[in-house]
Structures are given as structure tokens and as C-alpha cells.
């Protein structure tokens, strides 16, 4: 089962993802893609670590090349987030076709895991014209989100902690809220 969660900044994407994964009884693997390059990144990483504390996640830090990660059969996977992965593939690794590469990597995770959740972000909605490399990033993120949504069983937009279903049905853990 593949779930894509999109939404704006600090709108509750991770907590929705963790709620869905709380139903997984086997191993849970967290793939962290954010490179801790500055103080703010350290703080964001720390905040997310605290959120996951006691929830039984094993953390793998992988900033590029997620196709090299092979997860155990039946496990739950949370990858956070596709936007960092894209930035790393484009600007650190200089990858020429990052959309296909990331899509393949995620399909590979989904072969073994029982539940894969990808957190992404909508970055094309502010109407600002940026320098060419940022516009390329926006285009790639748009294409990646479309490709991932197509192969996903569920697509959820997180709106201030509320899961709004864009594809598929509301996960069980939210049905009584």
C-alpha cells in the first residue's frame, strides 16, 4: 500500500503519516532525507525525532539514491520528504533525470514493505518567478508529485492536521474522528 501525503509548511503531514503507520505491527523504518546543513535543519530534524520518539521507528539517513535501500518484508516505511530528496538529487548529485530515479526508488521500497508513506510538498503555488534552477526544481517536483500520485493507492492532502482525501479512501485510524 502506497500513500502520498502532500500539503503546506507545518500543516500536520508527519503526524498523519505516523497515525497511519501506528497500525503496522511489524518493523517501522523512517527514511530521513534532510541533510543537516544548517542550524534550522538541525532544529527541524530534532523536532521530528522527538515526534517519533517511543513510536518504534528505526531511522535510515539517506540523502540521495534511495533505490539502494532494501527494506525488510512486511515492514512500514515513512520517507520524509520527497522535496529534500529532489533538492539533493538535483543540486548535490547533479542527477539528470531525478523524477524517474526517485519514482523507481520508491517503487522498490513498495516491493517489500506492507505500507509505504511518502511525505511531499506542494511548491508551485506561490506564483513567484524564481531563477531558472528553482523553476526547474518546481517543475520536477510537480512532475514527481503527479507520478507518485498515479502509482499511489491513497493521496492525502494534510490541511492543518486534517486528512483531506484526494485519491482512495480514508485510512481506518481516522474514521472515528
Amino acid at each position: 500500500m502506497l500513500t502520498l501525503i502532500t500539503g503546506g509548511s507545518k500543516c500536520g503531514k508527519s503526524s498523519i503519516a505516523e497515525d497511519i503507520l501506528s497500525l503496522v505491527r511489524s518493523r517501522k523504518i523512517y527514511i530521513a532525507t534532510m541533510e543537516p546543513y544548517c542550524d534550522e535543519a538541525h532544529k527541524a530534524i530534532e523536532r521530528h525525532r522527538k515526534m517519533r520518539l517511543g513510536k518504534g521507528f528505526e531511522t535510515i539517513e539517506k540523502y540521495t539514491d534511495i533505490q539502494d535501500v532494501t527494506v525488510p518484508n512486511g515492514c512500514g516505511v515513512l520517507l520524509e520528504c520527497a522535496c529534500n530528496l529532489m533538492a539533493n538529487e538535483m543540486f548535490s548529485a547533479g542527477e539528470s533525470d531525478p523524477v524517474s530515479k526517485i519514482t523507481r526508488g520508491i517503487a522498490h521500497l513498495n516491493e517489500n514493505a506492507s505500507e509505504v508513506i511518502i511525505v511531499t510538498n506542494s511548491v508551485g503555488g506561490d506564483g513567484i518567478i524564481y531563477p531558472a534552477e528553482t523553476m526547474e526544481y518546481i517543475k520536477n517536483m510537480g512532475n514527481l508529485n503527479c507520478a507518485l500520485a498515479q502509482m499511489s493507492d491513497r493521496v492525502i492532502e494534510a490541511v492543518y492536521g486534517i486528512p483531506v482525501m484526494l485519491k482512495g479512501s480514508l485510512p481506518e485510524c481516522f474514521s472515528n474522528r
Binding site: 509548511s9 500536520g12 511548491v123 506561490d126 513567484i128 528553482t134 518546481i138 490541511v159 492543518y160 492536521g161
Partner: protein, 126 residues
């Protein structure tokens, strides 16, 4: 609490007025304590910005608002999408609005999202 959200100029305030919500003050200009005297506050995202500029913690402030005015209606513009701003204060503002609105949404019986003047109830009953 009740929360009405959506992009700029999508019809949030007009919706509130159409469903009979009156006594709306403006978070961009109202005094910090004055807000508590009204039934509804619009531009809550601007109130958050002013609280940050005044050195207040907007999460603390919204918790106090909930304690004192549990029935208040909050209208806020969604500002969290797009490229992460280079300017640090802009980043902090947009992230804080996200966290504050997560709190408001959790405390609200009803959350309504307006797009092109059309309301969708995303939490609570129609």
C-alpha cells in the same frame, strides 16, 4: 472554535457573513486584547505575524485565546505552500501559522475551506 481557511480573496469573509457570522474584527489591525471582545477574527495569519514581531509566542497566545473565547470563529489565509522563503522571518512566520492553525483545527468542531467562493467542510458535519 470554528476555523475558516483558504487562499487570499477566495471568499472566506463573504462566506462567514453569508452564514450569519457578524462582529468580525481584523487581525491585521486590532489590538491584541481587543480580539477577545469579538465573535470572529479575520486575517489571523497577520495577527500571528504581529505577535512574532512583538516578541510573543503565537502558540501560547492562541492557547490563551481558546481558554478565554472557546466559541470564537477564526478566519485565516493559507500561506504554507510554495518555495521555502530565503528570508528567515518569512520562514518562521509561515511555519508558525501552520502550527497555530493545526492547534485551532484540532480545537474546532468545524473546519471550512473556501476555494473560488465554494465552501468544503473538511471537519465536522455539513
Amino acid at each position: 472554535m470554528m476555523l475558516i481557511i483558504g487562499g487570499s480573496y477566495e471568499g472566506k469573509t463573504e462566506y462567514a457573513e453569508a452564514v450569519g457570522i457578524s462582529d468580525i474584527c481584523d487581525g491585521e489591525t486590532a489590538g491584541f486584547d481587543e480580539i477577545k471582545k469579538h465573535k470572529c477574527v479575520k486575517n489571523y495569519q497577520m495577527l500571528v505575524k504581529r505577535q512574532l514581531e512583538a516578541g510573543l509566542d503565537p502558540l501560547n497566545e492562541v492557547e490563551k485565546l481558546f481558554d478565554e473565547c472557546p466559541d470564537i470563529v477564526i478566519i485565516s489565509t493559507e500561506i504554507g505552500c510554495g518555495i521555502v522563503p530565503i528570508e528567515k522571518s518569512e520562514r518562521i512566520w509561515r511555519e508558525t501559522v501552520g502550527k497555530v492553525c493545526c492547534f485551532i483545527a484540532a480545537k474546532s468542531q468545524k473546519v471550512i475551506r473556501i476555494s473560488c467562493g465554494i465552501a468544503s467542510v473538511i471537519k465536522g458535519n455539513g
